[in-house]
Amino acid sequence: MTDPRSDPFWALSQPITPVDPDPAFAAELRSRLERALLAPEGSPMTTTTEAPAHTLGSYIAVNDARSALDFYERAFGARRRGEPIVMEDGRIGHAELAIGDSVLMLADEFAEIDLLSPRTRGGPSQSLYLRVSEPAAVDATVRNAVEAGARLERPAADQPYGRNAVVVDPSGHRWMIASSPAAAPTARHGDLAYLTHAVADTERARAFYGAVLGWTFVPGRVEDGWQIEGTNPPAGMHGGAATPGIEPVYQVDDLTAALVAVRDHGGQAGESQQQPYGRIAQCVDDQGVHFQLLQS
């Protein structure tokens, strides 16, 4: 290999110099871009009446189809697809809604053919599974649904497979609202990955920080453990601490090597433990400050 700097071809290196194109071209391209952005085709993000029919769809019976259409619009941002088909007796025989990239079909109850809503029948035998884009959207969707008249059956909580919640709508349909787990933390070696608040009494601490910082909490994986919602970096709280304090969790690339380094430099390192989110170990630095190391 020759020294790359001596390669005369590097004289060609050329940073980008902005050049305004012809204004007419710029305006025309902007309108093409706008049209492309608004075209529903091929876009899984667009909620429109154009939602394609998937192989398996839901066709549900509701107590009052007109109210139900309103409810789904308010609760889940549904859009109407066409006009409902109204029967001679005034019942709605068929209506369609687009929710995200899916179609929900519904009709009023037709007892004569045993088509009854879960409420009339005495409870649901299935759930409708509504996937939303991110964990925070689970909470927002649940709020909208409850405001629109749904009953909260299971509050939003983080599960290993993502955040989810369950609401029951006015017709008795059970909706599971779920997101995929948040993207893996992008903390790099040495970054603060997580903060653990060790307190004596979590109820008091939650009341205090809820009032002061507006934090909200969801139950965590361990007894009296709580996730603080939506902070950056992520944070949690646990109770029963003899010496209250805040323990930072630092990300490391190689936990084994990091624990050796802690001990080599006069600190104390505990045993590493495997957790769903990675391997973690308690440490104390050479002046007595507690911290944790995480390899995720």
């Binding site: 071809f9 060609l12 290196s13 050329q14 110099t17 050049v19 871009l33 952005l37 909620t47 995200g100």
Partner: protein, 172 residues
């Protein structure tokens, strides 16, 4: 119910457009082609922005999309011209040290005169400063084939550059 991440393209359009256009114009040195590729870049970005995981909708990301469009253009051009051109035997694969200071004005005329595959390889490697592995990715070739292509491209460049040095009319 999900917001469309591609909408971010409209927010950065005014600042990104001259950058993308300037990048493409300086690399292909053809006004009409630069506009065509600029249009292709933004429209392709609409689709790309909606992929999961969502890419960062930034000017830098758009330049990357533009680079793909430019490489695609050269690959198309190369396929079209392949049948018309004799195999490039000149120069071979032997590289002796070349100790010159390249005149960049002449150099860009030389690039214009090269075949699309040589021009693509040299542009991505030297004008854009990409590592060889990334050049290979853009050109759809293996790393080894790309290294060999770069050797041939440099040889072809030197041949044309040398001829231009002796006779400036050679580039016309």
């Amino acid at each position: 119910m999900r917001p469309d991440p591609a909408m971010g393209l409209l927010d950065i359009y005014d600042t990104a457009l001259p950058q993308v256009h300037g990048y493409l114009l300086s690399r292909c040195r053809d006004r009409t082609l630069a506009q065509d590729l600029t249009g292709e870049t933004f429209l392709a970005a609409v689709t790309a922005a909606r992929r999961q995981p969502t890419p960062p909708i930034t000017t830098g990301w758009l330049i990357g999309v533009a680079r793909h469009k430019l490489a695609d253009h050269w690959r198309r051009a190369e396929r079209e011209q392949r049948g018309l051109r004799l195999v490039h035997a000149a120069g071979g694969e032997i590289e002796d040290p070349w100790d010159v200071e390249i005149d960049t004005v002449v150099a860009h005329q030389v690039l214009d005169a090269l075949g699309p595959h040589h021009r693509a390889a040299l542009t991505l490697r030297y004008l854009d400063g990409l590592p060889v592995a990334q050049v290979a990715g853009h050109l759809g070739r293996t790393l080894h084939a790309t290294e060999a292509l770069l050797v041939r491209a440099r040889a072809a460049f030197r041949a044309v550059y040398g001829a231009a040095d002796e006779d400036p009319e050679a580039l016309r």
